[in-house]
Symmetry: C2
Subunit: 534 residues, 2 copies
Amino acid sequence: MSSEKSMTFGDAIDLSHHLSTLSRNRVPSPLKELQKYWGRPGIISLAGGLPSPEYFPFDAVKADGLFSSTFPATTAPQAKSTFSWLWDIFSASKVATTPITIPKFPEHSNDINLATYLQYSTAEGQPHLLKIVNELTTKVYKPAYANFQTMLHAGNTDGWLKAVNTLCNDGEGVLTDEWTYPSAIASMKPYGVNPVPVAMDGQGMSSIALREVLSSWDEKARRMPRPHVMYIVPVGQNPTGATMLSARKKEIYDICVEYDIIIVEDDPYYFMQEGPYVAPSRRTPCGTGRELGDEEYINSLAPSFLRFDYQGRVVRLDTFSKTIAPGCRLGWYTCNPLFAERLLRQAETSTQAPCGFGQSIVASLLIDWQYSGYLRWLKGLGSQYRLRRDFFIDCLASKFHLEFGSSVCNRFTGSLTYVAYSKLSRHGEKFVKKPLFSFMPPSSGMFVWLRFDFEGHPKVEELGPETLEKKLWIAMAEGGLLIGAGSIFAANPTDKTDGTVGHFRISFSNTEFDALKKAVDIMAQVLDKFYQDL
Amino acid sequence: MSSEKSMTFGDAIDLSHHLSTLSRNRVPSPLKELQKYWGRPGIISLAGGLPSPEYFPFDAVKADGLFSSTFPATTAPQAKSTFSWLWDIFSASKVATTPITIPKFPEHSNDINLATYLQYSTAEGQPHLLKIVNELTTKVYKPAYANFQTMLHAGNTDGWLKAVNTLCNDGEGVLTDEWTYPSAIASMKPYGVNPVPVAMDGQGMSSIALREVLSSWDEKARRMPRPHVMYIVPVGQNPTGATMLSARKKEIYDICVEYDIIIVEDDPYYFMQEGPYVAPSRRTPCGTGRELGDEEYINSLAPSFLRFDYQGRVVRLDTFSKTIAPGCRLGWYTCNPLFAERLLRQAETSTQAPCGFGQSIVASLLIDWQYSGYLRWLKGLGSQYRLRRDFFIDCLASKFHLEFGSSVCNRFTGSLTYVAYSKLSRHGEKFVKKPLFSFMPPSSGMFVWLRFDFEGHPKVEELGPETLEKKLWIAMAEGGLLIGAGSIFAANPTDKTDGTVGHFRISFSNTEFDALKKAVDIMAQVLDKFYQDL
């Protein structure tokens, strides 16, 4: 342990006043007394309500894991068509795999085995997987204090709800981005915990807007105390795709220190940092052909809030949903020991441990790959999503007339935005010059957030932007394209700030490339008709 | 659908007043509008935040499943040593298995595949598994109304917490057995929901005591409204091992109709119905040598509360923890459509779907086995636990002097109980005649509940039974045996009803037979010393 890391600020700063009444009411584990004897050699336990593993109806679980190097670590050079090699892999009848076997009983005492992983177990997770996520957290996120803790949870949505119950009381507010993950809001609202939206720009939450909200807080007018918890998706934000860089994170963290706020960092898209979008005409093979070294790769990523967290006020939610598979329902907390203990008590009385099949299979694959192999997999994944992001925006560029937007006419201050105009000419020159929508090509994640200013629409006064957004959504759906209507991502739907604007979230993550192309064709056709018909 | 089953009482009876404020506050799913278009042929979806399954790093998941006939369906006849064949199976280097393969992409559209099971999915569970649990519920539990619904959850502890949040408000009480599963209490208490213990006898909750509690309810004195929810473990009850038979269940159900109470039936030990214990001297091979037919087997089991549930007021919690493995974290609700919809909304904003690895592996095994094969597995499992139960109690009978207890001197009214006396003679005749403990051999489950009356202990007045229980627990642990101290199972630890009594829960489910025997030896030695030393 280095001298810097031996500082245990996570303990030294008293954060106990952030615990909710619900959380304080949780009783300590009744098993403590038992644990004193549990591991003793030769002791016979008839204490637990455990079925015999002899009766688990599996002799072994196996998996064919992909190689960590399955996907190129970098975007392929231009020489070859940008994504043609992708088809090579999946048109082959069989990808190369590495065999994973989890036996019922271990050959060596520390081996992953079904008798242990399919048994009742500690809610924080099995040691093999805990060790792996702890190593990842330490090496990749580099928390600014030493005694942080990691423990498994059943996916970030569950992780977030447990954080709400640990930190928030009925009648309190949580600071959120003005556009955010709907399930996060839907999770907390029934408990009487309401979102307090903060305005965003091209990097997500604005530090200026955050300070404004906090410094001008009027408890009486707002009918709630000043929030002491923040929920934030800082990379490839859902739904806007915004990514917050180092300087902004430091600003936000410092404000949270000043106003004593706990930051819950929900970061599922962290390893989908694709880098800036470059138009095809200016895209060169330089700089994309060499695989980054591990430390170089880590340094190329926007840092986690943990990197600035010298006080232990960040609860980070990591998940394997985007890097392995969503069906794992497997992720982990990184937070201070005080919160970790309360979260563990909560898991014990609800989800208990994440599924043992998932834990054992994921842990086995990661052990097979090793730390550096997992980073290799993540590099490949990032490149894959970069290809998808580039391809989708290239399609937009080919189907619409794109121009750089000025920073005045859009919300994405300081970021490169495009304004899309129709390429169809039959509306006459005047209409064609009207912008259809604007967007910021995301540097991370899987979403493109389209901003429609219906100002020029003939019926905007009559119908309003919300109805137009809905009509356009239905028109797209009837045309054969499903996208996300912006309104469902509003942290507070009644909190309208812009009179003629609607939004759509488009996900480029899970469709064949030809379907992505077809989707943009549909968009162009439907938009054309939409402005004709209404 | 038969004419009897077409009655949809679960809808016709209005149970909406049972929903908690929290549950009412949950918003409907925002995906409803999407679902209208979701399945349309040819439609392109860029709406979901789904990663591409091409990037799930598994080409296949496989398992070696045991045959459903791995264990004999009945207790082996006496001709062979009662459990010697058990060693035969596990001393063999390899058990016979059936290969299970879950490919990444389906060969036929309805096949179980990783691309679907490892993706985000509906929180109620994947169709294959839903169909299986629905068939089981219909054929085994035979609910008394037609439109019951089944949906998956992440194990009964999580299922119970979700039921609490759906049904109970802060400040309310829940009727429970006086001794019960500690996690169930620990789950609800932080939400301000407190247990209201009801006295038990040999069949678990007493209907007489239940009526007494309800009819004499004094809201002011109790400082809470009369409970409208019951939590009950009716088979192989944890910790007492009690099993409630048909007539008692009908009585309890009718009282719940009269007082408008929702019954949450947590029934993990349902298929561990081992039948009555018969002393070795009177044990005969007759009646245990023939495998029961499926319907005969089902009829031999104590019915679920669902069988009487003509009003849809039962929320049944089933789990695969004891029949497959606890690490599955997989079970299911059976309840009326109103509650099912609210529970689904709750799952969507917390755990989402249970783990896809677990769902796919368990579903594949059950599809391989088929319905009748699963019943065959359950018959074998029941026989296995019968062997264990018999073996453990045989050990008690050989190490202690057992006599039938009179129904007057114990709490297990109407049930066969044993009183255990020391076989050691050096204390002199007088002391030997003092009973050490009494117990009712359980007909189900994995627990034996020992009742110690410390009345005859020299220091009972000085120390009290709670301290003696703890001292005895420590003495056992120091002697090399861990068992469950009764006090941790008290629904309300401050609610003392008996001045000189302590309890211990012993689990015979997960220890080698020679260790079970050794455990009883330790018990005898420690008890001997315990009465000497103090």
